[in-house]
């Protein structure tokens, strides 16, 4: 049987113990799950459940204390911080909570930044960037600087900046947490639409149960520290999903309640 696209096995993380102190507590311990290619998986957990730490480790910007991360069967978890390869040579994209746009670049230049850095800037990729800009409704704002954009617009820019270079896996850390409900619903729709176009593998972290259900093929529930997977739910709703009316779908309430109980 082919190995899963991305597999996490017994992942563990604790921060370095200071000299002469007691060993620091485990942030993550014995965490395992697998993700199939093209799957949209949502991770939900209470605050303090090490969600960002988990994503950091998958994205290779933080080292694991124990366990393995396997990408198409190849082990990639580094235990030595010095041998980390951030983004795993651009195979793993990461949309962080802060938009981290370069303030001195316009929208279009921010979106083109990864292509510039990777030496892949040409007419075709430029056109692709323009398509993405149009797809999220940022047409006309290409020459604006980040400080001239609203929070939601910056989020969108940050999102398509990751999409533009087509990483096979995309991690997303509560990307829509800081915007109001209407913008969030719109962004969720935009995201699903873009995902349908490319069917990338997405791991999406959130603390919003409704969002987790609306977006994912599968939802994994995380525990408090030391974090493990408490439960896994396949989301029964068909795609394409109507994010705005998801509450009305039959069966939504029971999935919602089940998950909510598990998070306690």
């Amino acid at each position: 049987m082919a190995p899963p696209f991305l597999e996490i096995r017994n992942l563990a993380k604790r921060f370095p113990t200071r000299q002469g102190r007691e060993p620091s507590p485990w942030v993550i311990r014995d965490l395992s799950f697998a993700v199939g290619e093209g799957e949209f998986v949502t991770l939900i957990g209470p605050s303090g459940s090490g969600k960002t730490t988990l994503l950091n480790m998958i994205a290779q910007i933080d080292a694991a204390s124990d366990g393995q991360i396997l990408f198409s069967g190849d082990a990639i978890a580094a235990s030595d911080p010095k041998s980390l390869r951030p983004g795993l040579d651009r195979r793993i994209g990461y949309v962080t909570q802060d938009d981290n746009l370069l303030p001195w670049r316009t929208t279009i230049d921010n979106v083109l930044f990864p292509l510039e850095v990777q030496g892949r800037l040409d007419d075709k990729t430029r056109a692709h960037a323009e398509t993405l800009i149009k797809a999220v409704g940022l047409s006309g704002y290409e020459r604006y600087y980040p400080h001239e954009l609203s929070g939601g617009m910056r989020k969108r820019t940050s999102l398509i900046r990751t999409l533009v270079y087509d990483p096979p896996v995309i991690l997303m850390d509560e990307p829509f947490a800081a915007v109001d409900a209407q913008t969030r619903a719109q962004l969720q729709e935009d995201l699903l639409r873009l995902w349908e176009m490319g069917r990338k593998t997405i791991i999406f972290v959130t603390h919003d149960i409704a969002e987790a259900i609306a977006l994912g093929d599968r939802t994994l529930v995380l525990t408090k520290q030391p974090t493990r997977i408490a439960a896994e739910h396949k989301i029964p709703f068909r795609r394409p999903r109507n994010v705005k009316d998801i509450f009305a779908l039959e069966g939504f309430a029971s999935v919602y309640e089940t998950i909510r109980a598990e998070i306690q």
Partner: protein, 270 residues
């Protein structure tokens, strides 16, 4: 369960602590500078580069004969007078301006433009007026230090939190008490910041002023030595001048730490 966490939780003990390494590096760098100095003296000749030992000897002579102290005293005296006057003017003016925003706006560009005048360049004109002596020097020191204190105090006056003032007034405090307790306390950090820069500035300004318009003081000693092509004297004088300014700098820092002990000290440059 593998024991990878051992690798991460106990970083290797470095041979020497970071602090010691830095200190050694600094001593090493200083040694390199001294060696370079000696080399330059050998390579370029005594006219251009006084050898370190000769400079040391001259410093000793200056100290022994008391000449060093007379010069330092002459410089400090003038610096102090100029500094105090500049401080008073620079600190009071913003308070006065605070009373009338209209006057402030009208006058502000002229204060800004007057800062563009190279103040040392006024020296020849001051000599015409007052001859060579202490008064032109004092005026130059005042001119150089005034702006620093003025702008810093002005920033402090503008930054005073109006809510605190209103709160004090509501509690029945008189204007005088408001001025003293709320305004002055809020301004203090800005004021001290200005003073901190201004004090060494004043001494430096005095020394440079002495190049142009004096018969005594550390700056005079340097310029006089240059005119006589007494390179050793020039070097010695510069050492004294630099040491003087750095000592004043350290003094001011120490005073600031004591005066503002109640405030979290802003740490820049760290």
């Amino acid at each position: 369960m593998t024991t990878i966490d051992q690798v991460i939780s106990t970083p290797a003990e470095p041979l020497i602590s970071r602090k010691t390494a830095v200190l050694l590096g600094q001593l090493g760098f200083a040694a390199v500078l001294l060696i370079a100095w000696q080399w330059a003296a050998d390579a370029f000749g005594i006219i251009f580069f006084a050898p370190p030992l000769a400079v040391l000897q001259r410093l000793y002579e200056m100290a022994a004969s008391g000449e060093m102290f007379w010069d330092i005293w002459a410089t400090l005296k003038v610096s102090a007078i100029g500094f105090v006057i500049a401080m008073v003017a620079g600190a009071i003016l913003p308070f006065g301006l605070r009373l009338s925003p209209r006057v402030t706006e009208a006058v502000e560009p002229y204060i800004f433009w007057s800062q563009g005048i190279p103040k040392y360049a006024l020296a020849p004109w001051l000599i015409l007026w007052f001859g060579i002596g202490e008064l032109p020097k004092v005026i130059i020191v005042i001119a150089m230090t005034f702006y620093v204190i003025f702008y810093n105090t002005l920033a402090g006056v503008r930054a005073v939190d109006f809510r605190l003032i209103n709160m004090a007034r509501v509690m029945g405090a008189s204007e005088k008490v408001v001025a003293r307790e709320v305004i002055w306390k809020s301004i203090q950090p800005f004021f001290y910041a200005g003073m901190k820069i201004a004090m060494p500035h004043a001494v430096g300004a005095c020394i440079v002023g002495e190049f142009l318009v004096s018969t005594e003081g550390v700056g005079y000693y340097i310029e006089h030595a240059r005119e006589l092509s007494d390179t050793v004297g020039v070097f010695a004088g510069i050492v004294v001048a630099t040491a003087l300014v750095l000592v004043i700098n350290a003094l001011v820092n120490w005073l600031e730490r004591r005066a503002l002990a109640w405030r979290p000290v802003a740490r820049d440059m760290r």
